[in-house]
Amino acid sequence: MSFEERLIEKVLASSGIVSARRRGEVARELRAHLEDAIEEARAAGLGEADIAQLIARRFGGPEDVARQFADVYRAERRAVYFIAFFLFAAVALVAVSAFVGAVQLTVALGMGYTAYRAFPPDHLMWEIALLTGLTLGYLSLHFTSHLFKRRGLAKAFLLIGGISTLAGLGLEVWLPGGGVVFIGAYCCAGAVCALETFCAGGWRKLAGLAAFFSTLGSLAPCVFMRAQNSSVWIMTTVFCLAIAVSCRFMNSLVAIFDRHILRRNFI
């Protein structure tokens, strides 16, 4: 690869320009500029090594140029980032809901219940509020914590917590009880993120999550539902364990999003 192509690549690599068409156009424009500069230097009788040095000096640091391009296209980058995030969140929410629902249904059918008995409409709304609070809370905390240099998770928890509380209060008006569940699920997402931060290694994280959610699943029927029936206890524990597995699944999705979309296009 020629030195001018390397220079262009360095500029584009950290320019933060999201659109492939625009990146191509910037590359074409810079290439035309460098070709002119090289031609002029050759006409002045310079050797190839001297030309490369001269062009690099006159062009300036590629990091500086890239940073200036990043400033120019910041608004566009943020808009695309938010769209990508919400699409990703929607996919994660559907995937988590489908998985948790499938596990619950399998266990319920195994215990001899009908699908309607396992998912009565009022309970279903409550469950959707819970999974939405947990999934959106988890993803928002993960990505927002990167915006802060120190105590990222704590600051993100407070920031997103404020927004979630407002959303929860709004939901409470529309679906009494749902708002409290939504905020509670957000707090669970905060606990999951903290747990993942402190537990090193995939299996330890999964074990930590399983312990956390099985405790929650054991206590929830007694504390919140005043349940006497063992089947409620089993279903809640299964539900919570399915969420624990979903959290690990979401973590893998986040890593893919981080590596292939976020770092490649936005950071």
């Binding site: 910037v26 810079l30 035309a32 500069a37 062009f59 140029v65």
Partner: protein
């Protein structure tokens, strides 16, 4: 004479407006023209011109199109929009008032 880099950075938009108000140009041509007219005093880092051009285009002051130059090469030419022409004139007047005020301070004892 080499000018201070910070001073140059602040006036790059003014140079672009002034040069493009006379004719359409591509990036390298703008640099060459600024350098020629200033007797090589304006020698800013060439790469920094392009983000400035893109910024002005996003703000609606410039438009651009690819044309084939005299040597047969394709170049991205920039030209001022109506909004850009108005802005160029405003900036020119502002700059003249500014330099007149500075000169008045420097010359009046």
């Amino acid at each position: 004479m080499e000018l201070d880099r910070e001073l140059l950075k602040g006036s790059i938009n003014l140079l672009i407006f002034r040069l493009l108000s006379q004719r359409d140009m591509y990036g390298y041509e703008i640099i060459q023209e600024a350098s020629r007219r200033s007797d090589n005093a304006f020698q800013f880092k060439e790469g920094t011109l392009y983000p400035a051009l893109h910024q002005l285009q996003r703000q609606g002051y410039l438009r651009s199109d690819w044309r084939t130059g005299e040597n047969g090469r394709r170049r991205k030419y920039y030209s001022l929009t109506a909004k850009g022409r108005k802005q160029a004139e405003e900036r020119r007047q502002l700059w003249q008032r500014f330099t007149a005020a500075i000169n008045a301070v420097l010359t009046n004892d």
